[in-house]
Amino acid sequence: MSEEQIKNLEEQFEARIARDEKIEPKDWMPEKYRQTHIRQMSQHAHSEIVGMLPEGNWITRAPSLRRKVALLAKVQDEAGHGLYLYSATETLGISRDEMYEQLHTGKAKYSSIFNYPTVTWADMGAIGWLVDGAAIINQVPLCNTSYGPYARAMIRVCKEESFHQRQGYEIMIKLANGTPEQKEMAQDALNRWWWPSLMMLGPTDAESIHTEQSMKWKLKRKSNDDLRQQFIDQTVPQADLIGLTIPDPDLKWNEERGSYDFGEIDWDEFWQVVKGHGPMNKERMKARVGAWEEGEWVRDAAMAHAEKKQNRKEKEAV
């Protein structure tokens, strides 16, 4: 194809998206669109998968059967989210194995929030409430994104997320209304998860790259700072309601803006964790790679069994 032709195709392509048409796997697309989507969608999938680890940590120690079935179902949903997203990404021409390889070698990133440890039961509450809460804010706009398979996967994901947040908040309510020790545990979890949750909504607009392109392709509809403000404004009253205190001395309602003003975010910490120096980066990768390697014989055995069955069927047919 000549440069002229490609430019022509690109213009038509952008016009289709601007008209709110969806792009489907076999449609022509600019290479940059394909690569950007592979990167974002696979990282999203990786985050769902690695995100199971901090919560999986507490399944066997859940304080009641009610809590246990709920947490188990939530973690299972996250596995499902990872699987929807991996298969949606595969429609762009990358194999599942390549994506795993990128995750396991550290070439692909996943959400930094999962590099923090879950040290008490209250962390299950804080994660559902805050981490899933921030994830929902990030994900809802993606239900309308331009790439069909991604949008469809996100609709499914968003439907399932709201129970995650509610079960987390319910844990916090219970603890906040419990013994002084339980309330303290809830407060401590909020203290530790608040700032990392704000960071989950991404670097400030001034530092965030390729936003304009992402807006055009509907990978993004609002800026990181707008999403963060939305998260803070919706979460602060929820903390107030259960008598917990947001760990930010600068947090203050701003009548004029109709929003909360908030304190400075420690972006050095954020970048440190992104670069692999968070408290749990090594641990998470070790668990993930370990699960993959230790599962190899199972995958091979299943394949061998399937082939044997197939051969037997063919023989019987003769």
Binding site: W28, A73, Q76, D77, Y84, R156, R299, H305
Partner: protein, 95 residues
């Protein structure tokens, strides 16, 4: 390293009797039986289905959007295939 990867399967789910099976997504499984079991866990955790079809992805032949012109345009000018093409007096009822 594994010698062979699990193939990819396309999953179709009927949400309730009376409705058609609809494409839900895809997944990897060693064989059709495992694809059905995995599809149950991945795509019907909240009673989304009463029936599942699995088809190995490589067995699907898809039309190419680049040929959409010759494929679908011929239907565009066949307005006489639609009821509104026909002129009837207003007095005619139930037609």
């Amino acid at each position: 390293m594994s010698t062979k990867n699990w193939p990819l399967w396309e999953i179709f789910i009927r949400s309730k009797n009376g409705l058609e099976h609809r494409h839900s997504g895809s997944l990897h499984a060693a064989d059709a039986e495992m694809a059905l079991e995995n599809a149950r866990d991945v795509y019907t955790r909240r009673n989304e289905g009463v029936s599942i079809w699995v088809v190995e992805s490589k067995n699907i032949t898809a039309s190419n959007p680049e040929n959409n012109g010759e494929m679908f345009e011929p239907a565009q000018d066949k307005v006489y295939r639609h009821p509104t093409f026909y002129d009837l007096p207003d007095e005619v009822k139930h037609m």
